[in-house]
Symmetry: C2
Subunit: 509 residues, 2 copies
């Protein structure tokens, strides 16, 4: 009665459990493949200040599907290409900066899925900005060892500009995945109106041209915030520092927003001498240091230079463009943080117009500019929206209301590696609630205004109905012409309505 | 404008993304730690035919929490202990068999979380059934290399019987985690009534004694089903076979329920000669073979020997015991499969009694005997239950109704490595719907019966009211004694009611 023990490589683990990365069936796998490739293409462009032009092509091939995505990004260093596409947990996204990709997993899952369903490798053609050459690789994954296998490599003079083209032949169900893929591309355009996305699919092409040439400032790579620390992180940082560094120097060099005064004050509060040399710290000290750094309440807030919010202006433009509502408003909240990770919440709310009425607000969820299309029921946004009593804001369901939310952070607390739902971290929940309530208040103002306008209009119609009769009666008494009296009465009514309208506007300012 | 590329070890990846394994904050981490340890304890006992006795101890220690779990299981081979606790993606659960653990990740996450929050290692004492010795280890994880670090090792003569004791000192919030941990233990007892669970916590102890000594037959290790195949799996299996093996022999040896006739028929259907030697197969052939094996519709259904359902009898006993309802029923569906993985769905439904009324059925979800307490909104069970029109079954909300579901499989399609929600695989969704509807029909029969009984009772009360008066009137005409007539009338009424009751029962059979 003994057990058989064995170890798995990271590639083997995700090969066996591909559904946790979103590759659960041919439909979902095709959607996830497109998503991962498009997200990498956007990360290679917008994150580096390049206006993205992304070409996506899907072509059914005898029971299989070819997916091709091409970008005008910075390109991948040729020596990194095999690992980037053929090694799970390898990439350039393991830094403190807002990017769409974070896990170093997505594109490898796409390669892996293609490999186990069609046996075909990924083809990558990439050229960097300052290079004269372009490199073309065919790569597969040695699943058991989690290492790339290079099937072919060609080097040639660059033919076009810089960028990367990726081509996969995979198992996929275009018929069932179509709706999700198209709405994924449309929603991507909604949150990235500076991107041009050209999609060529089996049912014709879709061309989403950029609506704006204004690119938000790209995020910068930042330092850790002292609240986000743990023993392991301290150990790594200390390993990379000289043993003679003092604690104050160490804190100043390694953490976000820590100057000499802050560092010294913290050391005194935590019971460490500011001059303690790193070499003298014991494991016990590290444990206390990590705990105290988390507990200390006087650190500066994390700096949001690592983030790249969309801006209320672009969000409102986006939601108006796509939903064509009667009313729209948008809010970008000030930066906040959870566990040392900076984050910003943005919300747009739209009402009426072409929005179909429904029993609960329609949600458009985004995280680091990624549209989230699955698992809405598990997302903190659904929780927040459902917990609000919308009657306070004069919304009576079924109502034509839609809410767009965007959370951006150096670390989105996704519930899974498939990146479909944001966990209910209390700080994020609070910011979302504040923003959505603020949008709700603006909606109430608008709806009150509409109600009042409607009441005034009704008054006008009612009074107008009697003008004829009243004029006739007055003409009888007054001997003036009925027409003159009618004109006078109309003038009076017009002034009255205008006065009410103006008075109302004054009241609202 | 170049990027910094790097690779992460599996341990580093989960260290950075611990929230996707359920370790998102001190409350959830404590819950998850207890869960992982208890699940391992149960896997070490029930899976091997041992009646489980599990001791769980939680003790707050100056801002930290000590968690200790002890079982009477088969023990861990001493040479495997370091890897089992100190290497992510290592374990004995990577086989085709129903176990609570599957990912080889949970306990390592608990070790990792303790290590980065308190700096303390895990202490493991284990002794195997046929060994004279017990081994005590202190283990940590070298996160950067995903390898175990042994801090101490002691060997001594066995003092008690076989089993494993695990002790961690970790960061945790007992106050907030208490309710979840206690209900986790109670629900575990509900689905494993043959287990004794002793819990000693800061607020006193909880002793759940086994309600039954009947252990379900343990699951056996099985073979892959031909429908669950992919190119990679075929490659591995072929690598482990002789090159001279014929295709028919290969299929018979490696797959579940494939005999000579089935194998030969398949080969003919798929266009392969049954005598093809494995050594002759090309990559192209492998791709075709994998595709055809998936498409072929005449394989036998997967054998459920790898599964261990609870049984309708035990489920009904469990739900009656815990909820004390007025009505309860349970169903175990016949085995089914998705993508080559066998699974069985079990459902229990309880109504009335001590169940509090609510606006939607209260759910108790289980997967491979693990109670699922989080992410109900993302689970396929919630989707199925919400899609049913309960008024068909005479249920008017708010109603006192609870539904327990148990899905067991060699591969539960969990939505994440935290094991909290089951994905909506169509085959599982269908089985759940069938089982829940069947339970609903049984409930409707019961409720109809109750309605009829109530109508008969009302008839009895109404008639009884007039017996005195009628008896008096009859006595006046008939000259008999009023008392005698009353007794006769009562006798008549009794017979009438009994007849109605019996007639009704006959109608229902």
């Amino acid at each position: 009665m003994t057990e058989k023990y064995k170890g798995l490589s990271a590639a083997e683990f995700f090969y066996k459990n591909r559904e946790i990365a979103g590759f659960s069936n041919p439909t979902r796998a095709l959607y996830q493949t497109v998503r991962e490739l498009v997200e990498n293409a956007l990360d290679a462009t917008e994150t580096h200040g390049i206006l993205p032009t992304i070409k996506v092509m899907i072509k059914p091939l005898d029971g299989k599907v070819m997916v091709k995505v091409e970008d005008n990004g910075i390109g991948i260093p040729p020596e990194e290409i095999p690992n980037v596409f053929g090694r799970v947990f390898y990439g350039s996204k393991y830094q403190l900066r807002q990017t769409r990709g974070v896990f170093g997993l997505g594109v490898k899952m796409a390669v892996l899925y293609a490999q186990i369903t069609t046996g075909k490798p990924i083809r990558v053609v990439s050229s960097m900005q300052n290079s004269e050459f372009e490199y073309e690789y065919e790569v597969q994954i040695d699943i058991q060892h989690n290492t790339p296998v290079i099937l072919s490599l060609k080097v040639r003079k660059k033919r076009k500009g810089h960028g990367t083209l990726v081509e996969l032949i995979t198992e996929g169900n275009w018929f069932l995945a179509r709706r999700k893929i198209e709405s994924y591309l449309r929603r991507t355009a909604m949150i990235a109106p500076y991107a041009t996305i050209l999609f060529e699919g089996p049912n014709g092409s879709l061309e989403i041209k950029r609506a704006s040439r204004k690119l938000p400032p790209p995020p910068q790579v930042g330092k850790y915030h002292p609240k986000g620390v743990d023993i392991e992180l301290l150990k790594i940082m200390i390993r990379n520092s000289s043993k003679k560094t003092t604690l104050v120097e160490f804190l100043m060099e390694n953490f976000d927003g820590v100057g000499k005064i802050t560092a010294t004050k913290f050391c005194e509060w935590a019971g460490f001498s500011p001059d303690t040399k790193l070499g003298k710290l014991t494991m016990e000290d590290l444990e206390v240091l990590a705990r105290k750094m988390k507990e200390y309440n006087k650190w500066r807030r994390p700096k949001p230079i690592t983030l790249s919010p969309v801006s209320a202006e672009l969000l409102e433009k986006g939601i108006r463009h796509v939903l064509n509502p009667e009313f729209a408003t948008a809010i970008t909240r000030p930066p906040s943080s959870y566990g040392g990770n900076p984050f910003i919440v943005e919300v747009a709310l739209a009402y009426g117009g072409e929005i179909p009425p429904s029993n609960t607000p329609i949600l458009y969820r985004f995280a680091n500019r990624i549209p989230l299309l699955y698992d809405e029921g598990a997302d903190v946004v659904r929780k927040v929206v459902d917990s609000i009593d919308w009657s306070i804001y004069k919304v009576k369901f079924p109502a034509p209301i839609a809410i767009l939310t965007h959370v951006c952070s150096t670390k989105i607390p996704f519930k899974g590696v498939g990146k479909e739902a944001v966990a209910d971290v209390p700080e994020i929940e609070k910011e979302l609630t504040t923003a959505i309530r603020e949008a709700g208040r603006r909606l109430r103002l608008y709806l009150s205004k509409v109600e009042k306008m409607y009441a005034i209009k009704r008054r006008k119609v009612t009074i107008e109905k009697y003008i004829g009769e009243v004029a006739r009666a007055l003409a009888y008494i007054d001997d003036s012409s009925e027409k003159v009296i009618m004109a006078k009465l109309r003038e009076l009514l017009k002034k009255d309505i205008e006065r009410r309208g103006v008075a109302y506007a004054e009241e609202e300012q």
